[in-house]
């Protein structure tokens, strides 16, 4: 009982001083009662009755008094903001559910080992703690209800499966810290965690701890497969496979190609297997020369079990005609392509030119790019390709610069714009920013006090955006917020083309326009979808393999248009496949959290307020329709002669 009471408190205790107003209510009714009098025909009988009574001033309030008293006390309690604070810590469990957790650790998967370790850890925790379980791949997602008991958490853990995609644990942590309020977060991952002291302890910070797990294991994996020379005709075509060994020593591996059946399953072998020796830390390119007409293929690597604990990355698919990647043209005088970080993004081919060289490019050469990134430069005329301007100079005509501000303070942003998808805008921090004058054809997406620092719009059929903060080099997890913004920009600029050859399981493809879609995927799964201008839809690639997407638009037979394309989804993820040496995960020991209501606290005032209002409604009804006893028509005194 003591702990029960200690968990209850009033957030605004001074409001309890309203409770003595109940005494005023008593006085009001006493006054009303004593002043209440009634005129009767004659006091003849009543006077005789009164003689037999001892007149005592008793407080006999009607039912309405009790209703009003209860309502008053409930309102005072509600104003005092009672809070039920369940005891114990509020703990978030962030469980790595990325592809690497499928790797074997002995007879079981790393996820199973992690699950068992987590259960053992739970047994050592106080029983008053409450937990929320989150998984990290492909994005932060809660599993089950919020703030559950350890027993419920154990049940939820059994349902967790490792995905076939990569995750971003630092970004997931930032999201946790800003969305919900916990006392601690326990990170459970197969990667070695280095905790960095951030020096921000306090009530408004989230403590970050990692469950110590150690895994060993080597891995063989494919990181790319490409079909080349498809136009050689009878001379055949070649398939280039990029393979790796995440191991301590060179590993022997066998790489073989297979056809892909109509149902997406592995077909017959194509040619002979190739034996390769893979050196740790080096990628090996293996070429196959095939004859005949090129078609979809799947490459497979195999080796000693001890050298390959993760099998999900041992296959890679390719198909002729599938997009070879997003061709990005980087216009920068000072940033080489290799240092831009963009080549680390799967599916991107980066060509870099200086501003002077760009000016010399022909329109046809410019048009070959999927989109252009102008880094600290700007075109003199809007190019015929979607473009991104990062920190453009003053005087550019596409996005006029208003000013440059130091320590910009974010004021507003469009939360529904594609550029702010999954983006924690408040975490966008920069020492300085360029502020733009928003053109009429564009929208201000992110604003600071002085104006817009992220502007985007469409002009003449192309998309243009300007970023007033530095986005390059692309550092991925090191700067998760900026990375998300950069990827959003790239995705938006590339339009419907999306990242067609850089797709991994968990990726989604936007389906837009007035069209009917038929998507056939691996294991002969066929999905039909409808999209419209007002309600676009999307399709998520759940498994790796070859997807054939057919869209039909138009309503009349003679106006119908059918388009088909092939999309390849692979489990390419160096972060997940390079198990040895395992990439270290650097996490802060605390993360600042916004001032939110204390988690796990049940705020009770809404309930009290509703009950009080209901009681007042009853009081009003009683006033309008008072309960009266029916008087007898002829009482016992009636007699006739």
């Amino acid at each position: 009982m003591g702990s029960l009471l200690s968990s209850f408190y009033f957030a605004q205790p001074l409001a309890l001083l309203l409770a003595p107003l109940a005494a005023l209510l008593v006085l009001a009714y006493l006054r009303k009662q004593s002043g209440s009098r009634k005129v009767v025909a004659s006091v003849l009988i009543l006077k005789a009755l009164a003689k037999h009574q001892t007149i005592k001033r008793r407080f006999k309030p009607p039912l309405r008094f009790f209703l009003e008293l209860l309502a008053l006390l409930l309102l005072a309690a509600a104003a005092a903001a009672p809070v039920w604070q369940s005891p114990g810590d509020k703990v978030a469990i962030l469980l790595d559910s990325s592809m690497s957790m499928r790797a074997l650790a002995g007879p079981e998967s790393r996820l199973s080992v992690a699950r068992r370790a987590l259960v053992d850890w739970l047994d050592e925790q106080p029983s008053e703690n409450h937990y929320s379980l989150f998984t990290s791949a492909p994005a932060l997602r809660r599993k089950g209800d919020s703030l559950i008991s350890a027993a419920d958490l154990r049940s939820e853990l059994r349902e967790v499966e490792a995905e076939l995609s990569a995750d971003n644990i630092p970004l997931a942590l930032e999201q946790l810290a800003t969305e919900e309020r916990f006392d601690r977060v326990i990170v459970v991952t197969d990667r070695p965690v280095e905790t960095v002291r951030t020096g921000t302890p306090g009530a408004d910070s989230l403590r970050v701890e990692a469950l110590p797990l150690t895994f060993a294991g080597h891995n063989l994996y494919l990181s790319d497969v490409a079909i080349e020379g498809v136009n050689r005709g009878e001379r055949g075509y070649s398939v280039k496979v990029t393979a790796h060994s995440a191991s301590l020593a060179p590993a022997e591996a066998s790489i073989r190609l297979f056809t892909v059946e109509r149902d997406g399953s592995k077909g017959r072998p194509l040619g002979d297997a190739r034996q390769v020796t893979l050196r740790p830390g080096q990628e090996s390119l293996v070429s196959f020369v095939l004859t005949g007409e090129p078609d979809a293929i799947v490459a497979e690597i195999s080796g000693e079990p001890a050298s390959d604990v993760l099998l999900e990355d041992d296959r890679a698919w390719a198909a002729p005609g599938a997009s070879q990647g997003i061709r990005l043209l980087l216009v920068s005088d000072e940033l080489p392509a290799a240092e831009s970080g963009i080549p680390s993004l799967t599916g991107f081919e980066v060509d870099r030119v200086t501003a002077r060289d760009f000016a010399a490019l022909s329109p046809a050469e410019v048009a070959r790019a999927s989109f252009i990134v102008f880094h600290k430069s700007a075109p003199t005329v809007p190019p015929p390709v979607s473009s991104l301007l990062i920190l453009p100079p003053e005087g550019n005509t596409l996005f006029p610069v208003r000013s440059v501000v130091e320590s910009p303070r974010l004021t507003s942003w469009q939360s529904s714009h594609p550029l702010t998808s999954y983006l924690r805008v408040p975490l966008l921090k920069s020492a300085a920013a360029v502020v733009f004058d928003t053109p009429e054809w564009a929208q201000a997406v992110v604003n600071v006090e002085q104006g817009a620092i992220l502007v985007a719009g469409e002009s003449r059929g192309y998309r243009f955006a300007a970023a007033g903060i530095e986005l390059l080099p692309f550092e991925g997890q090191k700067t998760p917020t900026l990375s998300v913004l950069t990827l959003n920009l790239f995705r938006w600029l590339s339009g419907a083309a999306e990242l067609q050859s850089g797709l991994t399981p968990g990726s989604s493809l936007a389906l837009e326009g007035e069209k009917s879609w038929v998507i056939s995927g691996p294991d002969n799964n066929i999905v039909t979808l409808e999209s419209s201008e007002d309600t676009p839809t999307s399709f998520t690639f759940a498994a790796p393999g070859i997807y054939r997407i057919t869209s039909v638009s138009g309503s009349h037979a003679d106006a119908m248009r059918q388009e088909s394309e092939t999309i390849v989804v692979n489990t390419f993820s160096p972060q997940e496949s390079a198990l040895y040496p395992p990439p270290t995960l650097t996490l802060p020991d605390t993360l600042p959290t916004p001032a939110l209501a204390t988690p796990g606290a049940s705020v009770l005032w809404p309930i009290l307020l509703r009950v009080a209002l209901f009681i007042l409604l009853l009081d009003i009804l009683l006033q309008c329709f008072p309960v009266r006893r029916r008087a007898d028509s002829a009482g016992g005194a009636l007699s006739t002669t």
């Binding site: 025909a41 005789a48 016992g636």
Partner: protein
């Protein structure tokens, strides 16, 4: 009154009733009631010795055969009845508010008046605290009677005995008297007023009209302080469940005292509730207790 006072069927039934009186009175006109005057009516009253000039058709030959002496029969003259309806219109008749006590009393007065008028009797309404109405005769006079009573509102307080005395002051001829009130006053006052009426040889009936709230104490709707409508006297109460029974006993004792005096004095006493329909009272209760026949 905006609506017809009584339904046509009630009027027809009232026409079939007659004011019942236990005494014979001298009327002013020929009516249907026995009078003290001996004359040419239909009812044999007495014999007297024949004197020259008497109508020989009235000689009782049987008496002559028995006595060898000539006697003539004497008959009672049937004459009209002098009816007075005294209606209490003091403030107490207006309470409890909305109980309709005075309306019931007034309607009973009019019903009795109509019975008398339709029988050829004359009726005068005496409103205590106000002027007496003129005498009304004949059924067609009802509308004038209604008009006379329509504007009366119960108000004010007065000495009950003195007002009854004043009402009788202009009454030369006794007759039938109906006194309608709640009689929620000391019994002695009522007795004093009834004595006045008996002293003037009226055949008196009292009709006590009480509201249901007066017949049975409603503790829920009775506040701790009550005020007398006429005297403004205040009484503090501490009501309980037992108070209902105590009140009933006290009221019964008060009514019983009144009934004892009435029984001893040959006065009819009728207790009615304002919740009872006037038609039921007049057509059922009054004949049952002998006020009407």
């Amino acid at each position: 009154m905006a609506e017809p006072l009584f339904a046509p069927q009630f009027f027809r039934k009232l026409q079939q009733l007659k004011i019942h009186t236990r005494k014979a009175y001298l009327g002013s006109r020929q009516g249907i009631h026995r009078s003290l005057r001996r004359g040419h009516g239909l009812e044999f009253a007495d014999y007297r010795v024949y004197t020259p000039g008497d109508d020989f058709r009235h000689i009782d030959w049987g008496a002559y055969a028995r006595t060898d002496r000539l006697y003539v029969r004497q008959f009672r003259e049937e004459q009209d009845l002098n009816v007075i309806v005294i209606l209490d219109a003091s403030a107490s008749m207006a309470y409890p508010e909305g109980s309709g006590k005075f309306v019931t009393a007034r309607d009973l007065a009019l019903a009795l008046g109509y019975v008398a008028m339709s029988d050829g009797d004359s009726v005068m309404f005496s409103i205590l605290g106000r002027e007496n109405t003129p005498r009304f005769r004949g059924a067609r006079a009802l509308s004038r009677a209604v008009k006379a009573l329509a504007s009366v509102e119960p108000e004010g307080s007065f000495n009950f005995v003195e007002e009854v005395r004043a009402a009788l002051a202009r009454q030369k001829i006794p007759g039938r008297c109906f006194l309608i009130s709640d009689f929620m006053m000391p019994v002695e006052q009522t007795i004093a007023a009834l004595d006045l009426l008996r002293g003037r040889n009226f055949d008196v009936s009292i009709i006590q009209v009480l509201a249901p709230e007066e017949l049975r104490l409603d503790t829920a709707n009775t506040p701790p302080v009550v005020v007398d409508a006429e005297t403004n006297e205040t009484v503090e109460l501490a009501l309980s469940r037992a108070s209902v029974q105590e009140y009933a006993a006290l009221l019964a004792a008060h009514i019983a005292a009144l009934e004892r005096y009435c029984a001893k004095s040959g006065i009819s006493h009728v207790l009615v509730s304002s919740a009872e329909p006037v038609q039921d009272i007049v057509l059922t209760k009054f004949p049952a207790v002998g006020l009407l026949k």
